[in-house]
Assembly symmetry: none
Homo-oligomer: 189 residues x 4
Amino acid sequence: MRNGTKTKKRIDRTALKLFAEKGVRETTIRDIATAAGVAEGTLYRHYASKEELASDLFVENFTALGRELAKIQEQEANTRTKLLAIIRYFCAAYDKDATMINYLFITRHGYMQKLTARMPNPYLVFRRVIRDGMARGDIPKQDPDVAASMVLGIILQVIDTRILGRRIRQRISDLADTLTAACLRVLNA
Amino acid sequence: MRNGTKTKKRIDRTALKLFAEKGVRETTIRDIATAAGVAEGTLYRHYASKEELASDLFVENFTALGRELAKIQEQEANTRTKLLAIIRYFCAAYDKDATMINYLFITRHGYMQKLTARMPNPYLVFRRVIRDGMARGDIPKQDPDVAASMVLGIILQVIDTRILGRRIRQRISDLADTLTAACLRVLNA
Amino acid sequence: MRNGTKTKKRIDRTALKLFAEKGVRETTIRDIATAAGVAEGTLYRHYASKEELASDLFVENFTALGRELAKIQEQEANTRTKLLAIIRYFCAAYDKDATMINYLFITRHGYMQKLTARMPNPYLVFRRVIRDGMARGDIPKQDPDVAASMVLGIILQVIDTRILGRRIRQRISDLADTLTAACLRVLNA
Amino acid sequence: MRNGTKTKKRIDRTALKLFAEKGVRETTIRDIATAAGVAEGTLYRHYASKEELASDLFVENFTALGRELAKIQEQEANTRTKLLAIIRYFCAAYDKDATMINYLFITRHGYMQKLTARMPNPYLVFRRVIRDGMARGDIPKQDPDVAASMVLGIILQVIDTRILGRRIRQRISDLADTLTAACLRVLNA
DNA sequence: AATGAATGAGAATTCATTCAT
DNA sequence: AATGAATGAATTCTCATTCAT
């Protein structure tokens, strides 16, 4: 195979890892090229700039996650099971690929503007589930954005504390049910 | 002397603003100097390096916030009022100086290691209030770090959504009581 | 074989155009390959390097023009008609293929050294006509290089002004007789 | 003096020389910095980019030459003496600073667009003198742009031939009167 | 203390050329 | 012959820091 697909994959994966670990600005092209085992120039065959690489990685992974979460919530019948399913999926995704979730979390402010309203979006899946829950009477009426933010905050901050302070040592997946229960209480479901 | 203090204040304030807006790495010494109306060299009268400036700003503001929160929680008698007081204070602090809170939030991963266990620490104040609440029977027994993270996540993510998506438009202070109620439900208090 | 010839022609023509428009250095192999509809590597089937391509284009077109001009002056009987014929031919050549003449004009300093004394040379044709005119008494004695330069300058600068400032709008061919008359006056013929 | 004026002068002069000798693209920042005896970064304190340096050098020298020529033609009374004076000045300028005139000649296509109609412009001085000459009856009516181009072409191509082929060896100043006489004949003055 | 010109190490990027297919 | 992914040396540019004033 000399069509560059494999090289691109290697660059993507390496860049994601280094960006998540050190930040985009503090990762150099050389860092990526060396770690990926390619020449520096090779990066520019696949991306116009480091910024484009970082931005593409964000958009691709963010929307892929949104797409998965949307699919999963659709398969469930009520608010409780929907929420449980997406939180479990999210936690499992973190345990499987913490690097990627970290990258999304760290860079979200910088690349949010690259997203359009049409693109799948994890935040909007949570908001959707909550809105639908209110419509169907599973959850009392409340501001859906405040509610979605609180729910997401519960999950993300637990992850964040785990990274930062090493105070939480369990696998995030093992906390999924605890977190879901907390979220349901917050929503007064 | 008085002049030197004023210059330092201007540098600090300008740097905090630019760092919060664009990030430390993407803010140049020249950016700061120009915006603060001083020469580039002047910064090195007050800080040994850009890193030291960023680091000092983090540590000073983070510990100051921790100190204030600690003082406030001490003045309250039970878990509910303690929590309400610190959340109200935190929300008011955000409305008064969003730039500073943003800066702490954005840079927390980079400078956490500059903190020692002795220093006042907002996270630890929340954790303290929750532990004490459990000890005194106001809150059911649970992992204090998971609990503190969930509470903090609720607050921070609401702020974050407000910044990111412009979906939440109310002043954060106006949400303080809502957030506190949510936190108490999360804790099963 | 037929295919190879056609590819080379396409490369030559495309390169000439881009070189004339932007300059050799500012035209990339990729520019040429893309515009010619071939792969980058294909260029190296036909030329050892970009420099060789540029140099060959210069020498080929410069000598071809010199050859034609030489042939034309030979067919005329006296200085006046010789000059008229070569100036008319030159102007017609410009109107027919301005790109090529521009390329020669733009790159002349860089590739002059690739020419040998034996090669047909437009400048030397003008010089020849003038020398012969002096020998035969049609033109007063004068420095043949100064004279040839003045004559060439008259023609080239009119073209140049047309390109640069868009101040001259007529077809160059329509100016051929005017230019010839001016040249004859300059030469005191 | 630590105000950078001397450094800028040194950079300007060195860059002009190298640009005129090798072309802008083929001259590197390192070439200029080394030859000027400054660090590479120093260039960027005075110019935003190599392009800006090249462009500024063009505009400054082109307009300065235009300004001088305009002043000189004003001091003369009739077309003949005006033309003689500006051609003498131009030739003297070339002998004094061939590098600068060469630079203007070589780069004129690239930076013409940086000029505005208001700026002093050598070409327009020649055109002005010729138009005025026609108005006052010194020169027969003719297209002023064609006429100005022919006059300029006579001068420039003689210089060009001198540079290119080493066929003309006299100082250009020594040819000024010959060139002026030729120009007057071209104009039918 | 303050200035801002100068530095130079390093970063991003370009692009002619090579080479496996 | 043709392709186009990969290379890596060369180039432009950035910017934290130094230092003469």
